[in-house]
Point group: C2
Chain length 354, copies 2
Amino acid sequence: MKKQIALLPGDGIGQEVMQSATEVLNAIAVEFDHEFEFDTYDIGGAAIETQETPLPDKTIEGCKRSDAILLGAVGGPKWENLPSHLRPEKGLLGIRKALGLFANLRPVKGFSQLLHASPLKEEVINGSDLLIVRELTGGLYFGEPSEIREDGQSVVDTLAYKREEIERIVDQAFQSARLRRKHLTSIDKANVLASSKLWREVVEEKRREYPDVAVEHLLVDAAAMKLITNPGQFDVMVTENMFGDILSDEASVLTGSLGMLPSASLRADGMGLYEPVHGSAPDIAGKGVANPLAMILSTALMLRHSFQLEEEANAVEEAVQELLRSGYHTADLNVKEGEQVGTNVMTRLVVEGI
Amino acid sequence: MKKQIALLPGDGIGQEVMQSATEVLNAIAVEFDHEFEFDTYDIGGAAIETQETPLPDKTIEGCKRSDAILLGAVGGPKWENLPSHLRPEKGLLGIRKALGLFANLRPVKGFSQLLHASPLKEEVINGSDLLIVRELTGGLYFGEPSEIREDGQSVVDTLAYKREEIERIVDQAFQSARLRRKHLTSIDKANVLASSKLWREVVEEKRREYPDVAVEHLLVDAAAMKLITNPGQFDVMVTENMFGDILSDEASVLTGSLGMLPSASLRADGMGLYEPVHGSAPDIAGKGVANPLAMILSTALMLRHSFQLEEEANAVEEAVQELLRSGYHTADLNVKEGEQVGTNVMTRLVVEGI
Ligand SMILES: CC(C)[C@H](C(=O)O)[C@@H](O)C(=O)O
Ligand SMILES: CC(C)[C@H](C(=O)O)[C@@H](O)C(=O)O
């Protein structure tokens, strides 16, 4: 199989972990006889430096020509005080919208070797394995009007959805649930928001097409509680953009190893952008100590979701499992036993595992 | 001091715990020589049953004539499938808006006897003591338009704020911070929302009036993470209505004893509505086992915030502390040692403590 992959390393440790991703993909290409071609484009602070915009047209066009996109991380103190249209995050929002990547998938599953670092008690976090499916190109993030008015005397943002935008993300969530434990929790605020009422209506309609999936509705405030008190009760959770932003970040700290979490942002045709959940970590950038595993696990999601290469995805994930079992870890993982290694060695271990 | 207090027991265990509140207030009246007059009004499901609306005009008027309001809880399975304008929660939203109760105060502080029930590890939750100040009458909850359009093909909700609405809640938060550890964390989503930009601007302006208070800005997604990984870093958190709804419920489970948490919803003139954070718990209603302590601690907040009776508020809070130290607890509290008691005995213990 021959695939074109756009690389958007971005800022901070994004550069380093992207290097790890390509090494791992090269190993997969050799082992399974594929051809992966990489083109690198600027985004975020890196793009601001060279092209005075966080998302150059060239980047958008390059991404559009590719079969999938890998993103490192964007942002850093250097660009924090720029006017908002020039901030690195705008690059991220812009690429999601420009490519129509409406479905953000955030799996949260602990690794038994790392669970001791969880802020939760072992009996609370043990065995939990959930997937948050977040709508990514609608709602408060993109609704108009969104503006300060009357010379600063009032302000308005708009939470808008088209029915079809809700339908496609709900479909995506049902399909994800089918590949897992067939349980879907739809999160809304139907006791307050009109958008949540339509959301609930669509979920009720769609469930008839997926009779094998059990469906529950949960209010967003209750979901924020239950993620902490009983994360194991969830399989797939689906929700709108802003609720998803909050809940998926909340969920990301439950297992105690944020540095291990990948994410996928997909379109219905399989095109996707894959990135680690962690940020650009400017404090450790360039030191060779960054944990590349979330980026590497993001490539596994790419192999699976954009290229349907399930076996190859498993090979990457198993290599990671195996090195954790052998006691290897990076500094961020809070492991006391075994051997602490840097970005390069960690990457080599994955490559050897493949 | 003579005060008129409106009682809105509402549904489920609301009735029982309200009884406890009045007994405790009667004890305070005797001990400290005050006069508290109680008038009871319907709200929620109880009002739907008798008056076909969750918030009768008579209730609003009664509350307006009072010096403070105590609310039990609203809601239950019986009313869950009614059209939304008839749902018990509408009573709650309506009374907040009708009385202009714009500042919701949610203190979260563990009791050392109960912390073992926390889902968090002891070293994570230990020593945390925070207050969430949530804007309660603006934002997505009340913005117009909020409607399903084009025969179900699209939907819109509106997140609107006037500058003065932001100013008054931010003032409230600074004032609360002054009475505590003088640290304020303002939560927003300024990298996406126009409303958050104005919010941040107002906080930056107001901080000049409170130079003794340290101020930090935090994005709502990061706040959802840090509440779990390091709740002890927070003193006062201030945020808009919907973010506050989610974060304050998230925070409410951190200590493991939701049944102990009071809340206050205030107006600038000191008028306030006080209610437990827990719900109407229809499953245990009428059995005499409900934990009345969150309701009782809500009366302490009333004594303090609406009546400036600090000594009396402390007397209530100390009586609760004392009975916990003596090992008394209700069934919900997950305590193994000591004596388990019901609503009546628990109430009597507080009264005796006063
Ligand atoms: C950087 C920011 C705009 C972005 C978001 O809110 O979507 C981030 O928090 C995320 O979740 O990917
Ligand atoms: C019942 C509901 C409308 C309400 C809210 O969202 O404000 C509740 O969750 C609360 O926090 O008091």
